[in-house]
């Protein structure tokens, strides 16, 4: 049966997701679905205190409990030189607490038993004698000279982790001195949590006969995890096989190495049996990768007409007890210095102080390229403050300040080189599509009637695709990505990639890229990821880097195959190689369109009839080190109504116009945007992880930490413009986190816009109804 031409050019089409049949039918294979013969279960004992000295740990009763095989404490790990592990941010973190605990729910001991229930029961019998110490939860107080020093293991006796600067301080000060207008705003991005549906977990399976450790783990970066495990444990890398099966959501939460992982591996090495550790929801929320927790102050110097001159930002970043933030080595505050956003600032100066507090460590890039969410939120919020101050409509103010199309590639004052963009076009489309003029008229009428309606705009610039290895590494491992494509004799393809999806649709997206490049159907291509024994080395899926990096690798790898295919085609067509043309579907002899061979013919020939002297087979590997990051952008508009009686905010409309360059699968892009907007909505209106003054975490489960349901979620409207990346093999930029990066500011701007007649300039997230209600009452608004 002939394959339709459209199927042979699948790029840009909403091809149905290849992975959905197994997910929808419950045939996914997640960590907890895996049961190995002789498997044991592990439960962690966690600290009830946020800061306390450990006087003693008594494990004797737990050891006697039914089914218990092993109890591990920090002392046991110390004897193996494993009490501390390196973090991704050049700090060190306790695996199991020794000496003292530094945050509530810190891992203190591990109990391994025949069944999960036995392990949980026995964990209650580990008696730890604590002596409570003063608790520091406020990062500003942590920096005061008389604050208790939390980290006794560090040489530097202060709670300051790092001070980081970007931009030109002198030039910025100079512009501020002479600026006609200066606005200043404190903005807080609360501590939030990615909350993937599947919590973290692993099974460590050490085979005493072969000496090989097979480690099943919920991992966004299996290869990086293997390298870290090898470096820490001393096991050689080829004797470690990391398998990341289906992963139920990552959002950055599954990038770091957590103490539970290390304990499970140690237990399996000691016992010679597989050991499974699966987190509870509470453990996931309280002790694994939180996000944000930035206290930011921004100042903009501008002309009277709102044209911006300079930006000055000071930030306190609360990193918790260990600096385990997931950031590239060179950027201790991640890509936060992208904070000038879509605007052509002449100068900028950014300072970030990282601070230790008695909170769980592990700031992750929650659907975000390393702090770009905080940066985008800050600049989009403060641009609105400026608009109000100079009396210019926020849409107009943005237009006046955009980096122009012809300025790309654009060098930002903090050192980033933006690849391409057309901000005016994107905003114009958004304004037109939502009917901005009419909405402003409606708002004026409503205001006259005393009703509260707000329109919020966010025109953000993202920075994704980490990264070019010349600038980006994590723990010294340079960031690039890889693809390996094997074409079998019948023209069927198995492609393996170094990234690892957690639901993003890689199996379809990469199949489309490869099929497009080879003139095959997506049905002919199977994409496999997540097994380090089979996949080429890659840095994993996070920070929207899969399509910009692995997508580039897939395209270039396929082109490598096409080169060889062309040689074989010349042989089959009996013409010179220079006379062979590929039209995207088949190879033909130049000027003789009737003489064609398809990739399937060539594949068969590659194993049966290659030209003399040619190596048989048809496969290739490509490691793609991108020349630069990619810079997708977007224009988001939120329309809200506020109930004066309850303070509840209703998001009446939300339009997201994204520009992520070349679109591979519009349906998948739209799905990513819907998901990201829902998360951004949750962050703006529902989510925060607060602590009381004793360091008790007050949001430990989905009763206190809210996750929006379909009922809460507004209806999303989407559209797009396409500005391809000039340096990416297919022009794709990545989109997964854009909606989460761009939307919080649109929501907050809309609420502040609604309350502006009362003189409100800013509200910190999350915008709970009671917060709005209080503001309304303070301003005498009642109903």
């Amino acid at each position: 049966m002939a394959v339709r031409q459209t199927e042979l050019r699948p790029l840009g089409k909403s091809v149905g997701r290849k992975e959905d049949p197994r997910f929808i039918r419950g045939k996914g294979r997640y960590i907890d679905d895996i049961v190995l013969p002789g498997m044991l279960y592990m439960c962690l004992v966690r600290s009830p205190y946020a800061h306390a000295r450990i006087k003693s740990i008594d494990t004797s009763e737990a050891m006697q409990a039914p089914g218990v095989k092993l109890v591990i404490t920090g002392e046991d790990l110390a004897a193996m030189n494993l009490a501390w592990m390196p973090t991704m941010a050049n700090d060190q973190q306790m695996v199991l607490a020794t000496g003292k605990v530094l945050y509530q729910y810190q891992e203190v001991a591990a109990v391994i038993a025949e069944t999960r229930e036995q392990a949980v029961d026995a964990a209650q019998l580990v008696y730890v004698d604590y002596e409570p110490l003063p608790v520091v939860v406020d990062p500003f107080k942590a920096l005061e000279p008389d604050a208790p020093i939390l980290r006794e293991d560090r040489e530097q006796k202060s709670n300051l982790i790092f001070h980081w600067e970007a931009g030109d301080k002198e030039a910025t000060e100079e512009l501020f001195r002479n600026a006609p207008v200066v606005v200043k705003q404190d903005v807080r991005f609360p501590r939030v949590h990615p909350s993937p549906l599947e919590p973290c977990g692993c099974i460590a399976d050490y085979n005493t006969a072969t000496g090989k450790l097979t480690w099943y783990v919920t991992s966004q970066a299996p290869h990086a995890h293997r390298t870290v495990l090898s470096l820490v444990s001393g096991l050689p890398e080829h004797q470690i096989r990391v398998i990341s099966p289906d992963v139920g959501g990552g959002f950055g939460n599954k990038v770091p190495v957590y103490p539970g992982y290390v304990c499970a591996v140690v237990a399996s090495l000691k016992l010679g049996r597989p050991v499974k550790w699966i987190e509870t929801r509470t453990e996931n929320t309280t002790s694994t990768g939180f996000a944000r927790d930035y206290h930011m102050t921004a100042e903009i110097a501008a002309e009277e007409d709102g044209r911006v001159l300079a930006l000055r930002v000071k930030t306190i970043a609360d990193h918790g007890a260990f600096d385990a933030a997931a950031d590239p080595s060179k950027f201790p505050a991640g890509l936060f210095s992208i904070v000038t956003g879509s605007y052509d600032f002449k100068e900028a100066f950014v300072e970030v102080d990282g601070v230790y507090t008695n909170k769980a460590p592990g700031g992750v890039a929650y659907r975000c390229s390393f702090r770009v969410t905080e940066a985008a939120y800050l600049i989009e919020r403060v641009m609105d403050v400026l608009a109000r101050r100079v009396g210019v409509d926020p849409a107009e103010l943005r237009k006046r300040n955009f980096i122009r199309k012809e300025q790309f590639p654009y060098k930002s004052p903090t050192g980033w080189t933006y690849d391409s963009g057309d901000y005016e076009k994107t905003l114009a489309l958004a304004l037109e599509k939502i009917g901005y003029e009419e909405l402003r008229k409606e708002q004026a009428e409503k205001r006259a009637r005393g009703e509260l309606m707000g329109i919020g705009i966010s025109t953000f610039t993202e920075v994704v695709g980490a990264g070019p290895s010349h600038t980006f590494d994590i723990m010294g491992i340079k960031m690039f990505d890889s693809a390996q494509i094997r074409v079998h004799p019948t023209g069927k393809v198995i492609a393996r990639l170094g990234v690892r999806h957690q639901g993003q649709g890689h199996e379809t997206t990469f199949a489309q890229i490869i099929a497009q490049e080879l003139g095959l159907s997506t049905d002919d291509v199977i994409v496999e990821e997540g097994d380090t024994d089979t996949a080429p080395y890659g840095l994993g899926t996070y920070a929207s880097r899969s399509t910009p990096t692995a997508g580039g690798a897939a395209a270039l790898c396929a082109r490598r195959i096409r080169e060889k295919a062309k040689k074989i085609a010349a042989h089959l067509l009996e013409v010179g190689e220079e006379d062979v043309v590929f039209d995207g579907v088949a190879f033909s002899a130049k000027g003789l369109a009737s003489r064609t061979v398809t990739m399937k013919d060539i594949a068969f020939a590659a194993y049966t009839n290659v030209p003399e002297g040619m190596e048989p087979g048809l496969e290739a590997t490509y490691y793609y080190d991108p020349p630069n990051l990619t810079f997708p952008h977007g224009a988001y508009i939120a329309v809200v109504d506020i109930d004066k009686g309850t303070g509840a905010v209703k998001v009446r409309r939300f339009l997201a116009v994204d520009d992520c360059g070349t679109v591979i699968n519009p349906m998948i892009v739209e799905g990513q945007v819907h998901g990201g907007l829902t998360e951004g909505f949750a962050i703006a209106f529902m989510q925060d992880i607060p602590f009381d003054e004793d360091g008790n975490c007050l949001a430990t489960n989905w009763m206190d930490y809210l996750v929006p349901t379909a009922l809460d979620t507004p209806k999303w409207e989407t559209d797009r413009t396409v500005t391809p990346s000039p340096h990416h093999p297919i022009g794709a930029k990545g989109v997964g986190e854009s909606p989460n990066v761009g939307s919080p500011a649109a929501f907050v701007n809309a609420v502040v816009d609604a309350l502006a007649p009362l003189g409100v300039e800013h509200i910190d997230m999350p915008i709970y109804p009671w917060k709005v209600w209080k503001i309304l009452r303070e301003h005498g608004v009642t109903e």
């Binding site: 009830p48 205190y49 509530q104 964990a123 209650q124």
Partner: protein
């Protein structure tokens, strides 16, 4: 840190009340949901109690130490312990004074630091639960004292607003 306080009046002479409350063997059983009492000395005893706050339910091992500040007048109790990954550290103060009618007024104040899942989970429920426990404790005390003397006057307890919860 949460603070609870209250007082109640017993129609018994101060010395009798003092002897009662200073005797672990007699006070111990008044603790609500007591599963086990283990008296180590006159000033130190251990209890195993059943606790339930919201979805967290289980047993707490508590060690109580009593220190007399002023004989027959005031004492301090330190209660430390926990279970199910949670911890309680309490400092309680008792003060006895004579009433005009010849009875005894017992003033108490308790500063409690609670940590772990109970503090996290029970944020909104914990004060209610604490009030229930103290009410039950004093109901039990009243009952026990009434067996000492049949005459027990009107009593009152109250739970103060916590000093800081958020």
């Amino acid at each position: 840190m949460r603070t609870y306080q209250g007082d109640f009046v017993i129609d018994l002479p101060r010395q009798t009340v003092w002897e009662f409350v200073m005797d672990p063997q007699r006070v111990g059983p008044c603790v609500p949901d007591l599963l086990k009492l283990d008296v180590e000395s006159e000033t130190r005893f251990h209890t195993l109690v059943r606790v339930g706050v919201g979805p967290v339910r289980g047993k707490f091992n508590l060690t109580v130490e009593v220190a007399v500040t002023e004989p027959e007048e005031s004492a301090e109790l330190s209660v430390r312990g926990g279970g199910m990954g949670s911890r309680v550290d309490m400092k309680a103060k008792l003060n006895l004074s004579d009433t005009e009618s010849g009875g005894t007024k017992l003033d108490w104040r308790c500063d409690a630091a609670i940590s772990g899942p109970i503090a996290s989970l029970g944020g909104r429920m914990i004060d209610n639960e604490a009030r229930k426990i103290t009410e039950k404790l004093f109901a039990n005390l009243r009952e026990a004292l009434s067996s000492v003397s049949e005459q027990v006057a009107a009593t009152s307890t109250e739970t103060a607003e916590p000093e800081s919860t958020d």
